[in-house]
Amino acid sequence: MNAQKKISPGHQRYLDNIKKTEKKKRLWQISLLLAFLILWELAGQMRWIDPFIMSQPSRVWNSLANLVREGSLGLHIAVTTSETLIGFALATIIGLAAAIALWWFPLAAKILDPYLVVLNALPKIALGPILIVWAGAGPKAIIAVTVLVTVVVTIINLYNGFIQTDEGKIHLLRSFGASRSQIFLKVVMPANVPNLISALKINIGLAWVGVIVGEFLVSRAGLGYLIVYGGQVFKLDLVMASIFILCLLTALMYYAVVYLEEITMKIWHS
C-alpha cells in the first residue's frame, strides 16, 4: 500500500540505483561470457592454442550441428535427463521415507548413526563396479549409482531437520493429546517443507553427478557417454559440445527447483 504513495526524490534515487546496479551486473555477466568465447575462438584461429586439443567455439558449434543433423542429440539428452529425473525422484522418495523412519524410531536412529556417518563419508562412486555387477551394465546401474550418491545426504539432511523441529510446537500438540503420527503430519512435516526444498536443491546437483559418473562407467547413450566417447577418440569438440548441453540442462533444472521454492515459500509464509 505504501508503494501507492508519492515517491520522494531520495527514494527515487535509491530505486534508480538498484536498477542501475542490476543493469551493470547483467552487462558484465554477458560481456564476460562473450569475451571468453571470443578470446577462445581467436586463440584457436591465431594458433596460440591447438584447437584439436583445446577445441574452440566454432568447432563446438559445428559438432552440435552435426549431432542435430544425425538426429542423435535428442536421444542423448532424453537418456541422460530421464536417468537424472528417475534417480532424483527415487533418491528423494527413499531418502524421505528413511528419514521419517529414523524420526519415528529414535532408537533406530541412534543405532544406525555410525553407519550413516560412514556411508556419508564414503565416495559412493567406489561402489560403481559392484552396482554394475548387481544391476547389469545398463540404465539400471546408472540410476542405482545416482540414487546411492544422492540418498545418504538426503536422509541426513531431512532427519536433522525433523529432529530440530521447534520443541514448543510439538509440546503444544502433545498437550492437546496428539499421537506421534499427528505430530509428524501436523508439525514436523509442514515445518520442514523449506528444509525439503533445500534438500531437493542439493539432490538435483548430486543426481547429475551420479548420472554422469554412471554413464562414464556403463552406457551406450547419453551425455556422459558422449563425453567419454569423445575423449577416447580425441574428438574434444564433441566433449565440449556435450558439456555445453549439460550446463544448459543442469541450469534449467536448478532454476526449476528454485521456482518451486519461491512458490512454496509464498504459500508457507515463513
Binding site: 521447534d166 514448543g168 510446537k169 509440546h171 503444544l172 500438540l173 502433545r174 498437550s175 492437546f176 493429546g177 496428539a178 499427528q182 501436523k186 508439525v187 509442514p190 515445518a191 517443507v193 504459500i267 508457507w268 509464509h269 515463513s270
Partner: protein, 251 residues
C-alpha cells in the same frame, strides 16, 4: 475441582537425579484464578506440565473431580510461553488445531471458532497468517486456540514473557477479561510479581529447588473491576508486592 496431593517430581540426567519439586499440595476451586510465582528454575513450568498430564509425578497425584490425571486431558488446555502459532496455517487453522487432534472439525466447530475470534476482535484476521498479526494479537489468537477445545482449566505458562512491556500490560488485561467472561479455572505461572498479583485471586509462592510452597496469598484488592490494570492501582497492591518480594528472597 483440581487437586494436587503431595506431588513430587524428580528428573534424571546422566549426571544424577535432580529433585525439582519436593512436595506440593494445592486445591484449586472451579473458576479460581491462581498464580504460581517463584524464582527462575524453581520448577514452576514443571508443575504446569504435571497438572497438564505432560509429565507424570514421581510422587503424589493430580486429580480433577477425584479422577487422577494420567495423560493429556481434554478438560485441561495449555497456553505456551511464546504463542507457537503455526506460520503455515491461517489464524482459523491455528485455532482449530486442538480440535483437529481429536477429530475432524465439523462445521459447528468452525462456526464456534469463528464466533470466538469475532468476539475477541480477531474477526477480520480469520484468514490471515500469524506473521501478519502484531505480537498482542498473536497472543490473543493463542488464547482463543486454547479456549476452542472448551476446557475447564487453562494452564498459562508465562504467556506474556515474550512481549514487550507495554504490549504485555495490554495483553494481560485482555486475557484476564476474556478468561473472566469464559468462566475458566486458570493457573498462571510467572516470575513477574505484579503480573501475578494483578491477575489472580490467589498467589502461591514456590521456593527454590527442590520446590515446596513457601506461602499462599488470597489477593483481596479494593478494585472495582477484575481488570489487572485497574487492580494495579488498588491501594493494597504495593503491600502484597512487598510481602511477596521479600518472600522470593531475590539476591
Amino acid at each position: 475441582m483440581l487437586k494436587l496431593e503431595r506431588v513430587g517430581f524428580n528428573y534424571h540426567t546422566p549426571e544424577g537425579e535432580i529433585q525439582a519439586i519436593q512436595e506440593v499440595s494445592l486445591d484449586i476451586k472451579d473458576g479460581e484464578f491462581l498464580s504460581i510465582i517463584g524464582p527462575s528454575g524453581c520448577g514452576k513450568s514443571t508443575l504446569l506440565s504435571l497438572i497438564g498430564g505432560m509429565l507424570r509425578p514421581s510422587a503424589g497425584r493430580v486429580t480433577i473431580d477425584d479422577q487422577e490425571i494420567t495423560g493429556p486431558d481434554p478438560r485441561i488446555a495449555w497456553m505456551p510461553q511464546r504463542d507457537q502459532l503455526f506460520p503455515w496455517r491461517t489464524i482459523l487453522g491455528n485455532v482449530l488445531i486442538g480440535i483437529e487432534v481429536k477429530r475432524q472439525p465439523t462445521l459447528e466447530d468452525r462456526r464456534k471458532a469463528i464466533a470466538l475470534l469475532e468476539k475477541y476482535g480477531l474477526g477480520e484476521f480469520i484468514d490471515r497468517y500469524p506473521n501478519q498479526l502484531s505480537g498482542g494479537m498473536r497472543q490473543r489468537a493463542a488464547l482463543i486456540r486454547t479456549l476452542a477445545v472448551e476446557p475447564q482449566i487453562l494452564l498459562l505458562d508465562e504467556p506474556f514473557s515474550a512481549l514487550d512491556y507495554q504490549t504485555r500490560l495490554t495483553v494481560a488485561d485482555e486475557v484476564r477479561m476474556i478468561i473472566q467472561r469464559e468462566q475458566k479455572t486458570s493457573i498462571l505461572v510467572t516470575h513477574d510479581i505484579s503480573e501475578g498479583i494483578s491477575m489472580s485471586d490467589r498467589v502461591v509462592v514456590l521456593s527454590k529447588r527442590p520446590s515446596v510452597i513457601k506461602s499462599c496469598y488470597d489477593v483481596e484488592l479494593s478494585a472495582v473491576s477484575v481488570s489487572p490494570m485497574a487492580r494495579r492501582d488498588a491501594p493494597e497492591f504495593g503491600h502484597y508486592f512487598n510481602r511477596i518480594w521479600k518472600e522470593l528472597d531475590v539476591q
